[in-house]
Symmetry: D2
């Protein structure tokens, strides 16, 4: 069993890249994503679970961070400005003008629209921690555990998990509130998190743990049986 320190914890939820460009009908991925293998139906399937988690967090006053992957209209931040080696699939992705800052495409999807108390983290690269204020804000809130939801499991979600863990944050991955267009890579991420980086829960297990422990104690407590 993996318990080390007293199990009170201070969670924050991070919702990765649930934006129109990636997940909405009429967004960039629905229009151009097939060619790169992106499957917005898989992405859209998790919306109800992410919604349940968000509602629970609002009720229990757990902070929520939404990441918003953007690119500039000018193209200054395209991967092609810095890289010579870009895999074909990723290069096709770069050609889709997805989630340009300031457009509808870049907005969080309607179903998960942030309230004014939620926090938006604009990011340019894969990890929610890279070149953003996320860590400073987690510290300001005293949060020590990040609960990961959103897309795509094997890219931006996994980068955020790896970087978060290595910076010292505890990590919970919600397996049915993250999605990937590549099922075998989705599975690989889950296996790696279970083996090396953190805890994998279902939406139901997460919500149950948050509600139950809050009810029984003044703080949230980890159920180490899930490790």
């Amino acid at each position: 069993m993996g318990r080390i320190r007293p199990p009170e914890f201070h969670p924050a939820v991070v919702v990765i890249d649930m934006q129109n460009g990636f997940c909405a009908r009429g967004g960039s991925y629905e229009k151009h994503g097939t060619y790169i293998g992106a499957d917005i139906n898989v992405y859209r399937k998790i919306i109800p679970n992410v919604k349940k988690i968000i509602d629970t967090c609002h009720e229990l006053r757990i902070p929520i961070f939404y990441t918003q992957q953007v690119r500039e209209a000018s193209g200054i931040d395209l991967l092609t400005r810095l890289h010579r080696i870009i895999p074909k699939r990723r290069l096709e992705f770069v050609k889709i003008p997805a989630c340009v800052r300031g457009t509808w495409d870049a907005e969080i999807i309607d179903e998960l629209r942030p309230t004014k108390d939620d926090l938006i983290v604009v990011k340019r690269r894969d990890s929610a921690f890279q070149d953003t204020e996320l860590e400073l804000w987690l510290r300001s809130l005293g949060a020590d555990t990040v609960i990961l939801t959103g897309v795509d499991t094997c890219i931006c979600v996994e980068n955020s998990i790896r970087e978060g863990f290595n910076r010292g944050y505890d990590v919970i991955l919600v397996e049915d509130a993250v999605a990937s267009s590549w099922p075998e890579l989705h599975k690989a991420t889950l296996m790696k998190v279970r083996g090396s980086f953190g805890m994998v829960l279902t939406t139901e297990q997460l919500i149950d743990m948050l509600h139950t422990t809050r009810r029984r104690a003044s703080a949230f407590r980890l159920s180490m049986e899930y490790l």
Copy 2:
């Protein structure tokens, strides 16, 4: 095809964690690693390929960085000092006193012993970039491409790839010069690099590309057919 800019490139090789504790007969992993699923035979199988790459680099004057994962004897940098959530397997790993700074266990294995011109990067966490001088040194040398070898494919190698790519370095993964104790995760890393982060070559392809392009030109050139 993924070619973007003129294909001259400035490579550096990074050899991840090929230390006695992880890869040598008599090291910590051989003695205690079975319990956590570590397979040093898989790790040892890549030694000849890593050696070939190192020899080629010495011949062609390509810089080589060896990472050395260490922990302090005092335990100050153990994951258990910061984390409540640690997967069972990783927790067992923490209990093995592997690669304590200053011990034989932490040294690079004899077969790959660095020369005095090679560079050692001492690291404390998974990525070769985290809290180390690696990036400053890559810049000093004008290197723009990191060629990844070593262990374990799905943890320290993949973290270094993801962080390197996102910081703007081009990435080449040498598939038979990296190894993992978990074959399906090894495969997943390769698939992800091919789809999102860089180029995957065999040792033979890499050495051929370095030799051939050096011979034909004053600079190394990328063979974009591999993308």
Copy 3:
């Protein structure tokens, strides 16, 4: 003299915190800043010089980054969330609700209003490099030299100089296009930059160097006589 490598250079201008809250009539500092010693007249005096530099950059196609120091209305990023030790003056500053994100106070002053080709870097702490995309963008543009203008010389400007220099960027401080409410600290920053971090030029010298070298060569060239 300090010349080391061929003197072609790729400059970018960084305009630090020239926002209504700090520099405009009717902004937070004019209304509440006297108490903390802020002197917006000193800040406003540099506006014509910063404008001249910006106009020159637009003409010569040198990229311009404007930093925008913001705080959240919710107070999540206040220093008081993280610090117990805050000097009285800085604590008074925290109490002034200056430059809240989304308000007029946080906007760049009218006199220096960015064009759509200029880049905005939203920052939360003193340095323009901390937790921002500035470095990624400098790399995308191939910029190797940052020319610093704006306010306050001894806090945000100096932090950006120190961090930029130590990350490997060359630094030029424009002495009459930066300003401080504390004259002796302004002087100390200049002395330190001259001794340890970079080059100090007047607006006239800078513009002359940019124009002259552009005219004589396809690239900008450093006049090492200024070192």
Copy 4:
């Protein structure tokens, strides 16, 4: 007055660059430093105060970090590899082969020799936080306040203060346990810390605060009268 949160604090002392090369008789600075204005007599004057602080910390079990500024014999990390603009004084400094890794010059001076429980942080640039494990270790120890001692006040000490403060650490500068070869810049650093970054104490005040509060309480407490 600046008190914000309950005044218990968890201090760690950082001793900046008290190495033979900078501070010992027979070290690089004594031999070659006059030309760049370095004054090792000023540096040596603080040794007794730094020693008193170290002894107090050992007694009260406060962790101590010694930074060790090094360069490689190969020259890979010289400023001249990355910079075109280097002030004359700093360039002269680069020419002095001070504190090469592995030499006597790079060792901490005898008078302050670390015990085996103290921690060494090898650094390559000005700030103790840049590219080092310092922050990870501060977190492992639960330290929230860094007490700065060592040399030179206006370069490495001030860079560490600025970066530490902006990362969220409370900062205490011990005015008679830091030294600079440039008296007016020493004064400017003190003035800036008092105005913007933290608390300035004498060695006697610091030791008194640590002893007294430890005696009266189980934790260290801040005396806010010093702010």
